[in-house]
Amino acid sequence: MLAVVGTVPDPDFPLAVGRVDMVGDRLSIDGKHIWVNRGTPALLGAMVNTLKVLGQKDIIGFIAGDIGLGDGSRKVYQYLVENRFQMDFNAIVFHYLQPDVDWHNKILFMLNDLGKKPVLIADAGFMYAAKMSGQAQAYDLFTPDVGELSFLADEIAPHPFYTRGFILHDDNKVPDLIGRAYLHGNAAKNLLVKGSTDYIADKNGVIFSVNSPIAEAMEAMGGTGDTVTGIVTALAGTGMSISKAAKIAAKVNRIAGFDANPTPATQVSQIVHHIPQALEKVLKESYDQ
């Protein structure tokens, strides 16, 4: 089983815990429905479509409505800590959540107490909290974009909003920023850096880079990073090594994006549709090799 911990942008959406399915363009969880759009719904949509190819594994969602006040995130955090006995997952991904170091630490303590440790993946707000807590190395994978990598590389920035200009500057090369993030202990064991070139790295530096096919418009599209995080979580949940899962996920996301023939106005649900076909293609190539 795989777990997704995140939020949806609806202040009236209550805490929902349960199996996630997709019916048409909508996700369903605990009798409630969510459109596949940027944020955690895009991540879930990508996971569901990845698992259509890999073979069904259940996705359990821990989802609440939150529009930035942190109330929904705190409901999810509290539920996880109080229901630790239910935590038996191959992989767990933490996503669009209000960064809160105190709750982050409670969750990490809870995970540490589990008999079987899942693959731990963090992205978005929870990744910010993981960096701020000083516990980045407890995670198996972070999936930052280049702006967020700059934040990880800036040892004193408390949020990407305060990343120092000399680190944010275009002249900085991604491999240097990766090195700087590891130097200060602010990266997970593995990184998948999402961008015009995707980089898969660990503490020794870049392991793979993936730069084709390229659909430049994807940079402008909201949710294309969420889909890659969803794909890598589903792959890592099968027991595949993190670096291999990240490399395949980066390729699949790029092919799905390319096949959607996007403009900067395209919405992410278009990419989610193309994931199964893209994954079949990448897996076939990988078996052929």
Binding site: P9, R38, Y162
Partner: protein, 181 residues
């Protein structure tokens, strides 16, 4: 099993990295802001300024940094905006002021820190919002995408987090660019 050594936590539940400092011109403003913030339920603390702060009076207010946008909105409404808002861990840090511009031909994208906004040039329609990690980002995108720059709400008015603040700065820069077309 992994072992943790967490960064030190402050008594009111926030770690140093999660806190910011509000700097005011005089003590009356500090007292007014303290009253307003506490009345509105924020966990804050009045204290002496760190040595790096060279401006303002001899009292500052410590606050949860992620709520900077909400707090500044309230204080501006009350007519007591701080003269500076800085992170506790880096009092010399400034909000991002470096914008990355990408021209897609028919579309223009502006990135501020981790937030991006993309507009169709001919219609000034906001076609995408991306990046960020705080939960108001998908909400802001829902409220803004599909509207023109003139129709869309300003993220500085309806956002709540620092990601919302960064998107607000990108929005402001986009307004500036649009006015030049």
């Amino acid at each position: 099993m992994f072992k943790f050594k967490f960064k030190k936590k402050k008594p009111h539940g926030f770690s140093q990295a999660e806190l910011g400092i509000l700097v005011f011109g005089n003590t009356s403003e500090v007292i007014g802001a303290q009253k307003a913030l506490e009345t509105n339920g924020w966990k804050i603390r009045v204290m002496g300024p760190p040595p790096e702060i060279q401006s303002g009076c001899d009292l500052v207010i410590e606050f949860p940094l992620i709520q900077e946008l909400d707090i500044i909105r309230l204080l501006e409404k009350l007519g007591i905006p701080p003269i500076e808002m800085v992170p506790v861990t880096g009092p010399l840090l400034q909000p991002v002021d470096l914008f990355h511009i990408k021209d897609f031909g028919e579309f223009l994208m502006i990135r501020a820190a981790n937030m991006k906004i993309t507009v169709e040039k001919s219609t000034r329609l906001i076609v995408n919002v991306s990046g960020g990690g705080c939960p108001d980002v998908p909400y802001l995108a829902c409220m803004m995408v599909g509207k023109t720059m003139a129709q869309a709400p300003n993220p500085l008015d309806i956002g709540h987090t620092l990601c919302g603040y960064a998107l607000g700065l990108a929005f402001k820069e986009m307004e500036k660019r649009c006015s030049q077309w």
